[in-house]
C-alpha cells in the first residue's frame, strides 16, 4: 500500500543520513532539466564560471534570461541534437545532506537509462506537467521505479504557475498518482507542487502556493528517510577478494594473515557468529573482522570489510558467507524480470554469462515467457494476459522449455520481460523484492563482453502471479 506523505515530518537527527542517492525522470517538456538546474543553482552548487558559461550560451541563443536547463547539458552530441543520451550524475550538498543525483532522460527509447539510474536510487523523483497530469510516460517512469524497488517515489507536479497554482487540479493529480503508485506496490509515494522555472517551492516556499502545507522539494530531499522501508535482512557477505600475508620469504617476522574481503550486501556480522560458506556448505565461526585495516567487533550493510573464520576452509571469490541458520539455498534455475539493455536481441537458447554479486557463471536462456508493454506503465497484479496463469515459476524455482512455446520470440532494447535461466553452476540468488543487492544480476555477452540485460530475480512487481 502506498502511503501518501503530504507533510514530511522532520525525522529525529539520528535518522538523518549524510548521503542520499536519487534518480530523476521526466521529459524535456516536463521541465526536468530546468528543475535539476534550479536545484543545483539554488543550493549554490553551480559556481560562477559554470553559470557564466550558461548565461553566455543563453545569450547566443537569443534568450533574455539564463536557461538553467543548460547546466545539465552534457556532451556536444547531445547539445547538437538537443537531447540527453545517457544517465548523468550530479552532485550537490546542503548542511544537512550530500546528494548524488542520477539524471535520466525521459524518451521512450531510453527506458534502460532510467533502469540504470534507478538501480542504486533510494528515491525517484518523477516529473509531470501540471497541465497534462499523469501521462503514459509518468506511468512508465513510476512503474520502472516500482520494478527496481526504489523505496520512495516523489511526484513533482511542475508548471503550477501555468495552471494559476490551482489547488484542486494538484489534488486531482496527486490522487491519480497515489492510486497508481499503490497498485504497483510502491512503498512510499508523495507529491509536491512546484514551478521549476520560477523556483516556486523548489528551495524556497512560494506565496502563490500558500494552500500547500507540505515541505519544499529541497526540504523533502533533506529529511526523507534514507533507509530501506523493508524489514532488516539477514547478513549476506559475497567474498570479493582473499587477502593473504604470509611469513614465508620475509626478513622480519610477521604473523600469517588470511581474511575474506568484501562489501556487506545486507544485514550485519559480528565476531562469534556461526556462519556457513556457500555454495560448499562448510560451517565455521567469525573469529575476527577488519574494517580497512582496523579491527572491529561488528560490520554492517554497505561497509567494505574483511572477515576471518575460525577454521581453515577453502573459500574464494564468488562464495557467500551467511548466518548458519538464515542461509539462502543455492540454485541453478533462475526466473527473473529483466530489462534488456543491448541493441541486439535476447533469445531463447542464447548462451550468456550471469554476473551476480561477485560470482560470474555461464548460463543459458531457457525461456522467455512474457514481454510487458510498458507504454502505459507496467500492468498491475493480475492484469497480465492469460499466459501468466500457466506460469508456475517461483522466485528461484524451475522453468521448463515449454514456457518458450508461448512466450515472445525475443527481447529487444528497452523491453521489460520475464526470462527463465539455467546456470552452469549454483548461484546464491534471492528474490529482488527482498534484497536489491543479492537479487540483482547482469547478463553479459561472453564474446563481446557487452552488458546485455539487467535482471531482477523473482517477480518484483507481482504481476505474474
Amino acid at each position: 500500500m502506498a502511503t501518501l506523505v503530504r507533510t514530511a515530518p522532520a525525522p529525529p537527527a539520528t535518522q538523518v543520513s549524510a548521503l542520499l542517492r536519487l534518480a530523476t525522470a521526466g521529459s524535456v517538456d516536463d521541465g526536468k532539466s530546468t528543475l535539476v538546474g534550479r536545484l543545483l543553482y539554488d543550493t549554490k552548487s553551480v559556481l560562477a564560471d559554470q553559470y557564466e558559461a550558461v548565461r553566455q550560451t543563453s545569450r547566443d541563443r537569443g534568450l533574455a534570461e539564463a536557461d538553467l536547463a543548460l547546466l545539465t547539458d552534457g556532451l556536444r552530441s547531445e547539445r547538437e541534437q538537443g537531447i540527453t543520451i545517457d544517465v548523468a550524475y550530479r552532485y550537490f550538498a546542503t548542511p544537512r545532506r550530500r546528494f548524488i543525483l542520477a539524471d535520466t532522460p525521459g524518451h521512450v527509447q531510453y527506458t534502460r537509462n532510467m533502469v540504470t539510474g534507478a538501480s542504486t536510487a533510494q528515491l525517484a523523483v518523477v516529473l509531470v506537467d501540471a497541465r497534462k497530469g499523469l501521462t503514459e510516460q509518468t506511468r512508465r517512469h513510476t512503474a520502472i521505479a516500482a520494478l527496481l524497488r526504489v523505496p520512495r517515489v516523489l511526484l513533482a507536479v511542475n508548471k503550477m504557475d501555468l495552471i494559476e497554482f490551482d489547488k484542486d487540479r494538484f489534488q486531482e493529480i496527486e490522487e491519480d498518482f497515489s492510486e497508481y503508485a499503490a497498485s504497483l506496490g510502491v512503498l512510499q509515494a508523495a507529491a509536491l507542487p512546484v514551478s521549476a522555472l520560477r523556483g516556486d517551492n523548489v528551495v524556497a516556499a512560494s506565496p502563490d502556493l500558500g494552500w500547500f502545507e507540505g515541505p519544499t522539494l529541497l526540504e523533502y530531499l533533506e529529511t526523507v528517510p534514507v533507509s530501506s522501508v523493508s524489514e532488516p535482512t539477514a547478513g549476506r557477505f559475497p567474498v570479493q577478494y582473499v587477502i593473504r600475508r604470509q611469513n614465508r620469504g620475509r626478513t622480519e617476522a610477521v604473523e600469517d594473515y588470511r581474511g575474506y574481503a568484501g562489501t556487506l550486501a545486507s544485514g550485519s556480522f559480528a565476531i562469534g557468529d556461526e556462519v556457513v560458506v556457500l555454495p560448499s556448505g562448510q560451517r565455521s565461526r567469525i573469529s575476527g573482522i577488519d574494517l580497512l585495516g582496523r579491527p572491529v567487533d561488528q560490520a554492517r550493510a554497505g561497509q567494505a570489510a574483511t572477515l576471518m573464520l575460525a577454521d581453515d576452509l577453502d573459500v574464494s571469490r564468488g562464495d557467500l558467507i551467511a548466518p548458519a541458520d538464515q542461509a539462502p539455498v543455492p540454485t541453478q534455475d533462475v526466473a527473473a524480470t529483466v530489462c534488456h539493455l543491448s541493441e541486439g536481441p535476447l533469445r531463447v537458447g542464447d548462451r550468456v554469462l550471469l554476473k551476480h554479486t561477485t560470482r560470474t557463471v555461464k548460463a543459458v536462456v531457457r525461456g522467455l515467457t512474457h514481454r510487458l508493454d510498458v507504454t502505459e506503465g507496467i500492468p498491475a497484479a493480475g492484469s497480465v494476459d492469460a499466459r501468466a496463469d500457466s506460469d508456475a515459476v517461483g522466485a528461484t524455482g524451475t522453468g521448463t522449455d515449454a514456457d518458450a512455446a508461448t512466450g515472445p520470440e525475443a527481447l529487444h532494447a528497452n523491453d521489460i520481460g520475464r526470462v527463465v535461466l539455467r546456470t552452469a553452476s549454483p548461484v546464491l540468488i534471492e528474490p529482488y523484492a527482498a534484497d536489491r543487492e543479492t537479487g540483482s544480476f547482469l547478463l553479459i555477452n561472453p564474446d563481446s563482453g557487452d552488458t546485455l540485460t539487467a535482471g531482477m530475480a523473482g517477480d518484483p512487481l507481482g504481476v505474474f502471479s
Binding site: 539520528t14 543520513s17 548542511p95 542504486t120 533507509s227 585495516g293 561477485t358 544480476f441 552488458t451
Partner: protein, 312 residues
C-alpha cells in the same frame, strides 16, 4: 571536521547509516578490490596530485595488511612541480611500491611528439600514456577522475571501456547498474577505472582531513614568484615562462590542482592547512578546473575531445 561553512555536509555519525565519507570510502574500496580480483595487470595512475594520493590511500587500506597488488604509473610532462615529484618518489619508497614513469620529454626528444606553440604539454600526455599501457599490457588503469569535475566526466562510467586505440566512445559505454561492474574486454582493449567517480572536490578534502593524509606542500598557502598569463597566476620554470612583458611578482598562493606547470594556475590564498582549505573551497564561487586549468578553457568541448582520444 570542524568547519562551519554552509556548503559543508556534516560528517557526524548516525547509528543506522554510514556518513557520506564512510559510504564513499566503502564504494571506492569495493571498486578497487573488484579490479584486483578480475583483472590480470592493473595499474594506478599516480601524479602526486591530491586525487591520486587519495586513491593510493584507499588502495593501501583495501588490501591491508597485505601490500597493494599492483604498481603505479606516472605520465610526466617534464614540466611538473619539483615539490610534487619529490613527494611522489618519497611516497613510492615509503610504501615499497613499483613506479613506472612515461615521459612526454622522451617522446618530444625522439620526434614522436612535437611541442605545441602555446607550450602546453597536457594534451601531449595521451600518447605516452597509451604507449605505456600497450608496452606493459595493462588491462585496467585506475584514474582519479571525478564526475563533478567537468561536463564530459559527468557521464563517465566507473568502468570505462577503451578500444585498442585508447579511445572513449560515449555511445559505446556499458550501462552500469547496482554495484555490478562489467570489466570484460577483448585483447588489446583496456578499462579505465574511476573509484572516485562520486566524490566532489570537497569530499576529497574532507577525507584528506579525516584520514590525516599528507599532501605536497604546494596545496597550501606559500609565498611564490608568479606572473599573469591568460588570467591565471603561472609559476616560472624551464617550461618557457615568463615571456617578455610578463613581469614576475611575489604572491601568497596555493594550488587547487597540480598538473603541468605551463597550464596549472595558482590561486591567491592564505589557507595554510586542510581545515582552512575546506573553508576556502566551500566558499569558492569558481570550479576547480575553471580556476586553475587553462586547457579546459580552450573550448566548450575541450575535455570531451581529449577523452575521446584516450586522455585520462
Amino acid at each position: 571536521m570542524n568547519t562551519a561553512s554552509d556548503r559543508t555536509t556534516s560528517t557526524a555519525g548516525t547509528p543506522g547509516g554510514l556518513t557520506h565519507l564512510d559510504a564513499l570510502e566503502a564504494e571506492a574500496v569495493h571498486i578497487i578490490r573488484e579490479v584486483a580480483a578480475e583483472f590480470e595487470r592493473p595499474v594506478l595512475l599516480f601524479s602526486g596530485g591530491k586525487d591520486s594520493i587519495v586513491m593510493l590511500h584507499l588502495a593501501l587500506k583495501a588490501f591491508a595488511p597485505a601490500p597493494v597488488p599492483f604498481g603505479l604509473l606516472h605520465v610526466d610532462t617534464g614540466h611538473n612541480f619539483p615539490e610534487v615529484l619529490e613527494f611522489r618518489d618519497r611516497t613510492v619508497a615509503a610504501h615499497g611500491l613499483r613506479l613506472d614513469v612515461a615521459g612526454v620529454q622522451e617522446f618530444i626528444d625522439d620526434g614522436r611528439l612535437a611541442e605545441r606553440p602555446d607550450g602546453t604539454r597536457n594534451p601531449l600526455q595521451t600518447l605516452p600514456l597509451l604507449a605505456a599501457i600497450t608496452a606493459n599490457r595493462f588491462d585496467a588503469v585506475f584514474g582519479g577522475g571525478r564526475r563533478d569535475e567537468e561536463k564530459a566526466r559527468a557521464k563517465e562510467r566507473v568502468f570505462s571501456l577503451r578500444d585498442e586505440f585508447g579511445q572513449w566512445d560515449p555511445r559505446r559505454q556499458r550501462p552500469e547498474l547496482w554495484h555490478l561492474y562489467n570489466g570484460r574486454h577483448r585483447p588489446g582493449e583496456h578499462v579505465r577505472v574511476f573509484p572516485l567517480s562520486n566524490w566532489t572536490e570537497l569530499d576529497v578534502w574532507q577525507y584528506i582531513g579525516h584520514q590525516h593524509i599528507e599532501l605536497p606542500s604546494i596545496y597550501f598557502a606559500h609565498s611564490r614568484e608568479v606572473f599573469v598569463r591568460g588570467g591565471m597566476w603561472l609559476a616560472p620554470g624551464d617550461w618557457g615562462g615568463p615571456r617578455a612583458g610578463e613581469p614576475l611578482e611575489v604572491r601568497t598562493v596555493r594550488y587547487r590542482t597540480v598538473g603541468d606547470m605551463s597550464c596549472t594556475g595558482a590561486v591567491e590564498s592564505t589557507a595554510g592547512d586542510v581545515a582552512e582549505v575546506i573553508e576556502e573551497i566551500a566558499a569558492s564561487r569558481i570550479t576547480e578546473r575553471g580556476a586553475s586549468r587553462a586547457d579546459d578553457r580552450m573550448s566548450e568541448a575541450a575535455m570531451e575531445d581529449r577523452k575521446r582520444e584516450g586522455y585520462f
